[in-house]
Amino acid sequence: MAITLTVNGTEHLLDVEPDMPLLWALRETLGLTGTKFGCGIAACGACTVHLDGRPVRTCTLPISAAVGKRVTTIEGLAQHGTLHAVQQVWVDAQVPQCGYCQSGIIMAVAGLLAQTPNPTDDEIDASLTNICRCGTFARVRKAIHQAAAPRTEGAAS
């Protein structure tokens, strides 16, 4: 059965079972390996993408649930060659270590900031439940506040 999927603005026709998790369709069928497999039970967040702009964990999400919706992966987050503000502060704050969990964290944070442009620490704690084994949390928090801070004229980045 063919399934139509819109990923990063492009439509794809996939011959996969409707219960295949979106993660594996993205990684194996479309070759978009920036979205990571971490646990397979939606516990760690490494597989987070946006579905119509909202973060979702794709390792347990059947592909059928994404039909008719816009899927945005880490590869599609930058626009016209310009990094998304979250990606940019991730570079500025040198957040990643091994980096494996960071696609998922960046997608989760981009989703959080779209809903809550200037989150408090409590809002960050409540929203961001991704696991990072390298322990980048302090930098993640700092970078979120940096991304959220209003860009004032002439301020150093």
Partner: protein, 722 residues
């Protein structure tokens, strides 16, 4: 400085594409080096040198270490570029191929013949000693990359390259070399105002002999080192383009899912493969001795088909093993506590326990392989590609030369991907052989990863300490089971009698190195116990330690700095407390203070961790800081929540729901400061781990009056018993 007893060699020639290669053979004592670094190396496309300069002014530095998140390639390249006075913007790095010529085990080994590097001579530095034993390994572990490859390899190679470029410029300008200086990738002759770029000089420089003992820069003149240089790998880690082992794509590859015999040492007895074989996408079901494997055209289909099988496994005779039986054996082996002097006014005793721990890197284990006739290609992420190569060769009955390992980025190592832990390479190539010549990517589920690790050893210790009537320590001794070594049990304190003896209590659980190796257990044991002695003496735990460190100025300075950073001694609200601990490992001394709160109901919150670090000097300030921040969080996650439990011979925990890790809500602030003692460089990947658990539990005691003697902390109710 190290001795160069043979002539260094140079490779120079035309690179494919018209470039020109200046090579400096940094490690010339490696067997086989002489034949490999020949004058026409470049023409054969064989890059066997460490530094190349091309006419476009780019400098490429080969790094014989993997990137698993520590920024090692960036730091090593900085060390070479610093010596060259290169323009950092023009420096690129490349991981060295998995060939014997790039074994970094040579570095320490060659230096330890008639000259023992001081990093090893310190005696307590077990990590470097271990790496030195791994002669011929291309290992990233033991926190050794910067202090061995960097200090004895990259600096020398960079200095030699600079000297050659200076010589070439002097000849071109018709002046003496002494009149020329190298700066930002150019050689300048100040008197005449002439200059030439490194790229312009590369061809002439490449024709020169390599200096055998180039002058290294005075550390006071460093301009690049100690700065916070952005890591070279980070851009690819924010846009999804970084390729880890699990991301590798080989044309035509299939996917394999694995179901292991759950009990340690178990094997497959019987399985009816038919239900899986009938399912979509399934190509083959392999019944191996230790596992059932489904190979399919997608990993998800392979997994789904595997789930349709009900294999019967033998328990390998270990079904009676459990965490309880293991700790009972430890307890029995430890016996009575160590004897204390009869003159003691007070004797303190305590037992401590730590569990098995899994590495749980975020990237599950994977191995992609293709066996085609007499050659095998392996794509994976390992901390030692050379040993991965020999593991694959052995599994296939090949010579090492018949295997090519394409090492990829590692989604976390922490010791899981070190040599002797390459079960996944062994299995991956056997699956590929069964499917030959089709390439197969084997992926482990998180459950496979959690239940088939090489675990951080569980351990138990039994301590006794003696104080005189004034609360001055007379003795502090311990027995321990579960592993230890001289570095791990080392206590820097001036106590007349100190001893730590191993007691044997064998068990069948598979063990391996876990970030900071045996220091993670013993840091908790020894720094908890000294804290208990301080309280028994009625003394402040910081002052108690400090008065015993007069013979150890580096320890004392680190302890004082951590205390000062944390505001030690200033009043805290009720329910809050500070704890301090200090350990040396891998040549680096780290003192940490934990600041915690414990609510009336026993709810713990780690508020802030402070670390004062003496690793001699830092190379990259930002990556050094990140390693300490990350090491502390890694250690806290283990101390608070980490535990692998054995029941009926198998691991109980399966995935991140029952094998918890801390998340951002639980992560404290972390403050890090470095002490520039100018001692020999110490490691940084691991040394922040050992003191963290004890700093935490010592803080809990200060906050709540509850002494935690068993990790993880979650097992102990933090409400003081009436």
């Amino acid at each position: 400085m190290n001795k160069w007893t043979r002539r260094a060699f140079i490779g120079a020639g035309t690179i494919t594409g018209g470039g020109f290669l200046l090579g400096v053979a940094g490690f010339t004592l490696a067997p086989g080096r002489h034949t490999l670094v020949s004058a026409d190396a470049g023409e054969h496309g064989q890059l066997t040198t460490w530094i190349t300069v091309t006419p476009d002014n780019l400098i490429t530095i080969l790094i014989p270490h993997c990137e698993m998140g520590q920024g090692t390639p960036t730091a090593l390249a900085m060390m070479a570029a610093e010596e060259m006075n290169a323009d950092w913007r023009l420096v690129r790095v490349q991981e060295a191929p998995a060939l014997d010529e790039y074994a970094n085990g040579y570095i320490i080994r060659t230096l330890s013949g008639d000259y023992v590097p001081a990093v090893m001579a310190r005696g307590v530095d077990y990590g470097a000693f271990k790496i030195a034993q791994w002669f011929g390994f291309q290992v990233t572990g033991g926190s050794t990359a910067v202090r061995s490859t960097g200090e004895y390899g990259m600096r020398v190679a960079g200095a030699a390259a600079k000297e050659m470029l200076l010589t070439a410029a002097a000849q071109q300008f018709g002046v003496s070399m002494a009149e020329c200086t190298a700066k930002s990738g150019r050689v300048l002759h100040a008197a005449s105002g002439r200059s030439a770029s490194f790229g312009e000089l590369a061809r002439a420089a490449a024709a020169l002999p390599v200096p055998t003992s180039p002058a290294l820069k005075n550390p006071d003149t460093f301009t690049l080192r100690r700065t916070a240089v952005p890591r070279l790998d980070i851009p690819s880690k924010v846009d999804g383009s970084a390729i880890y082992g699990i991301d590798v794509s080989v044309p035509g590859m299939l996917y394999a899912a694995v179901d292991f015999a759950p009990v340690q040492g178990g094997r497959v007895v019987h399985v009816d493969t038919k239900p899986a074989e009938a399912m979509r996408g399934v190509k083959k079901v392999l019944v191996l001795e230790e596992a059932v494997v489904v190979v399919a055209d997608s990993f998800w289909r392979a997994r789904k088909a595997l789930a349709a099988l009900t294999p019967e496994f033998h328990d390998g005779g270990n079904a009676g093993v459990s965490s309880e039986t293991i700790f009972a054996a430890f307890d029995a082996a430890l016996g009575a506590p160590p004897q204390m002097p009869a003159t003691a006014a007070t004797v303190v005793t305590a037992d401590y326990k730590v569990p098995f721990l899994a590495h749980a890197g975020m990237e599950p284990i994977s191995c992609t392989a293709r066996v085609d006739g007499s050659h095998c290609d392996v794509w994976t992420g390992v901390q030692d590609p050379l040993n991965a190569r020999s593991t694959a060769a052995k599994a296939l009955g090949f010579e090492n030369e018949q295997v090519t390992v394409h090492n990829q980025l590692l989604g976390g190592g922490f010791g899981r991907r070190l040599p002797f832990n390459f079960d996944y390479v062994d299995l991956g190539v056997r699956i590929a052989k069964a499917m030959s010549p089709t390439p197969v990517k084997m992926i482990w589920t998180r459950e496979n990863d959690t239940q088939h690790d090489y675990y951080r050893p569980a351990g138990m210790s039994r301590h006794a300490g003696a104080l005189d009537a004034n609360g001055v320590p007379l003795a502090a001794s311990s027995f321990y089971a579960g592993g230890g070594n001289g570095e791990a049990v080392f206590m820097p304190y001036a106590i007349p009698e100190k001893d730590a003896d191993a007691k044997d209590a064998a068990h069948p659980i598979r063990l391996g190195q876990w970030r900071s190796v045996l220091n993670s257990q013993h840091g908790f044991f020894k720094e908890s116990f000294i804290d208990e002695m301080a309280h028994a003496a009625g003394k402040d735990p910081f002052e108690f330690r400090r008065t015993m460190l007069n013979q150890q100025p580096r320890f004392k300075a680190a302890l004082e700095k951590a205390a000062a950073m944390s505001g030690w001694g200033t009043p805290l609200p009720a329910g809050e407390g500070r704890g301090i601990a200090i350990c040396e490992s891998f040549g680096t001394i780290v003192a940490e203070v934990a600041h915690v709160s414990v609510s009336v109901a026993g709810r713990l919150k780690v508020l802030h961790m402070y670390a004062a670090v003496d690793c001699g000097d830092v190379v990259n300030l930002d990556t050094a800081t990140a390693q300490v921040e990350g090491g502390i969080i890694f250690a806290l996650s283990a101390a608070l929540l980490g535990e692998i439990t054995i029941k009926d011979g198998r691991v109980v925990e399966r995935n991140f729901r029952d094998h918890q890790m801390i998340r951002i809500v639980d992560a404290p602030l972390v403050s890090v400061e470095f002490i520039r003692s100018n001692a020999l460089l110490g490691g940084l990947g691991e040394p922040a781990v050992p003191p963290a658990a004890a700093a935490l539990t010592n803080a809990i005691y200060a906050a709540a009056g509850v002494r935690v003697r068993e990790l993880p902390v979650k097992k102990t109710p933090l409400v003081k018993q009436a």
